[in-house]
């Protein structure tokens, strides 16, 4: 048939569709005919190639129905996940809020109304969430998510996704928006990564490293350039791309995701960065859920930023060392700086052999300090506990204030006041100062 006949038939079979849509479709085929004709094809030929107008019209009509069905299903799975997170948060909030209203006497200033501690165990329920600790095991449900830790294994569900970690490998899932389970494990395949890049260190003052879920390891070596080794294997639907940018005084090492949603299982992938021992500039590391390991670095400003990734730092020296994390835990030893700033929401901290002015700010993370040499230490916690081991050379004047937490001094301190949330003590000659502010956390000096 010719063009006129074809388009007339198509128009007839498309009846039932909205007029604007129908006209738009016809214009597509009109364009197709016109271009075909201008290229020397006959109208007959074009009609034949396009196929039966009835079939064509049918594919437009079934398309619309399929769309609606797919959208409905997608909406359903999106709704389910949203319901789970909202439900959990509401339960936490409801428990605490209801009791809060019912018996105001029971609530403390940090909004907790159940606070039971015994030996290493703890149960805490409040407006900030639920926390249960039993030795090394730790369950916390709060505004930044759900975290279950069992020694070295960890499951965390947060706003940025799900991560399951054991001592060897990790599984992460993240998504933009709420369609977490858009892709099932069947869509994942084993990916092996082994990439190596080098970057010249001459004139470089700043190195920055960033990764979404892959762990970062920074190691110094006797070398005269920077070596980046990105390797491991994982079952995934996305492989972060290694990008190394060198501009003037900056080296920028980043693992970029082609899109925000991903699903990664059993990953042993790690981003190793080998830096010359001679480097003494600024070092910034950023990881979302990946962990950061750094050892033996001397620099100017060394900073770390993670969301739920843990930090294991040893033997770092710098002017300022700053660490910011949401729920990542940290183990810091032998850090030397003019100022050391630590800011965490719920991550736990183990600080050992630190030198420098120390400021620690946390909400519910616990703090374990040992052998801190400093002129000024400022510790601020909401419900996190503090355990402070002072050695024989410790020389501090200690001032503390708390709402409902307790101060428990050690035998060597001279306590001036320990009453109704105010604490004042001296150890040694009281040359340096420690200031502690806590809401319901306890402070134990050893």
């Amino acid at each position: 048939m010719n063009k006129k006949e074809y388009l007339a038939k198509l128009r007839m079979y498309l009846q039932g569709l909205p007029i604007s849509e129908l006209e738009d479709i016809i214009s597509d085929y009109e364009e197709h005919f016109n271009i075909g004709i201008s290229k020397g094809k006959s109208e007959e030929e074009i009609s034949k190639e396009l196929g039966d107008p009835k079939e064509v019209a049918l594919s437009y009509k079934s398309t619309i129905e399929t769309n609606y069905e797919e959208n409905r299903q997608e909406r359903r799975s999106r709704t389910n996940w949203l319901a789970i997170i909202v439900g959990t948060v509401l339960i936490v909030f409801a428990i605490s809020f209801l009791s809060f209203i019912r018996d105001l006497n029971y609530s403390r200033s940090d909004g907790s109304f159940v606070n039971v501690k015994s030996n290493g165990d703890l149960v805490r329920i409040g407006t900030k969430g639920i926390e249960v600790k039993d030795g090394d095991d730790h369950v916390s449900i709060g505004w930044d998510g759900i975290k279950v830790k069992d020694g070295t294994d960890e499951v965390s569900i947060g706003w940025d996704g799900i991560k399951i970690k054991d001592s060897e490998s990790s599984t992460s899932r993240s998504s933009s928006g709420w369609s977490f389970f858009g892709l099932g494990p069947g869509d994942l395949k084993w990916e092996e990564v082994n990439e190596e890049k080098l970057a010249k260190i001459e004139g470089v003052k700043n190195i920055s490293i960033s990764s979404p879920f892959v762990d970062i390891k920074v190691i110094t070596e006797d070398r005269n350039d920077v070596r980046i080794h990105y390797h491991g294997r994982m079952k995934t639907n996305v492989v972060p791309e290694l990008i190394v940018d060198k501009k003037n005084k900056d080296i920028d090492i980043k693992l970029e995701l082609p899109r925000k949603s991903y699903s990664v299982n059993n990953s042993t992938v790690v981003l190793e960065v080998f830096i010359p021992k001679s480097f003494d500039g600024n070092l910034n590391s950023y990881a979302s859920s990946g962990d950061i390991y750094m050892k033996n670095i001397v620099g100017e400003n060394i900073s770390f930023n993670t969301s739920s990734g843990d930090l294991i730092l040893e033997n770092l020296e710098g002017k300022t060392i700053s660490i910011t994390t949401s729920s990542g835990d940290m183990s810091l030893s032998k850090l030397v700086g003019d100022t050391i700033n630590i800011h965490t929401s719920s991550g736990d901290m183990k600080l050992k052999d630190l030198v420098g002015k120390l400021t620690v700010n946390t909400s519910s993370g616990d703090l374990n300090l040992q052998n801190i040499t400093s002129e000024e230490i400022l510790l601020s916690t909401s419900s996190g506990d503090i355990s402070f081991k002072l050695d024989d050379k410790a020389d501090f004047k200690i001032k503390g204030s708390s709402s409902s937490g307790d101060f428990i001094p050690n035998g060597r301190m001279k306590v001036e006041e320990n009453h109704k949330g105010r604490f004042s003590a001296t150890v040694g000659n009281g040359q340096n100062s420690i200031e502690i502010k806590t809401s319901s956390g306890d402070v134990i000096f050893k």
């Binding site: 364009e31 197709h32 271009i35 107008p53 064509v56 398309t63 395949k189």
Partner: protein, 105 residues
């Protein structure tokens, strides 16, 4: 070739071509029909669905050789969809090849 199968593969083909450059309808149909036997009328409905799902956007461009052409351009979402389909395809092809030529155990 099974209808559903062909549809899926066709989606992959169209997205992969658009991933490389913008195409106008006729150009796309012409290129694909060179390699696989399809009813060319099935490509336009596909493009329309892509548009409503936000995988492609369109723009008009005048042409010296003839009538103005409606060009199709892949969006970021479309690129994502392409990459997912590409991985699925790879897996599928590998799976099928293993069945066809792999070991019986």
């Amino acid at each position: 070739m099974n209808i559903q199968f062909k549809k899926g593969v066709l989606e992959l083909c169209v997205l992969s071509l658009l991933n490389r450059k913008d195409f106008y309808g006729y150009e796309l149909v012409d290129h694909i029909s060179k390699y696989i036997n399809i009813s060319e009328g099935t490509i336009y409905p596909l493009l329309r669905r892509f548009r409503s799902e936000g995988y492609v956007t369109t723009y008009l461009e005048e042409s010296q050789e003839g009538p103005p052409r409606k060009y199709y351009k892949l969006t970021d979402r479309g690129k994502e969809a392409f990459e997912e389909l590409d991985i699925e395809w790879e897996n599928f092809v590998n799976g099928v090849n293993n069945i066809l030529r792999g070991e019986l155990n």
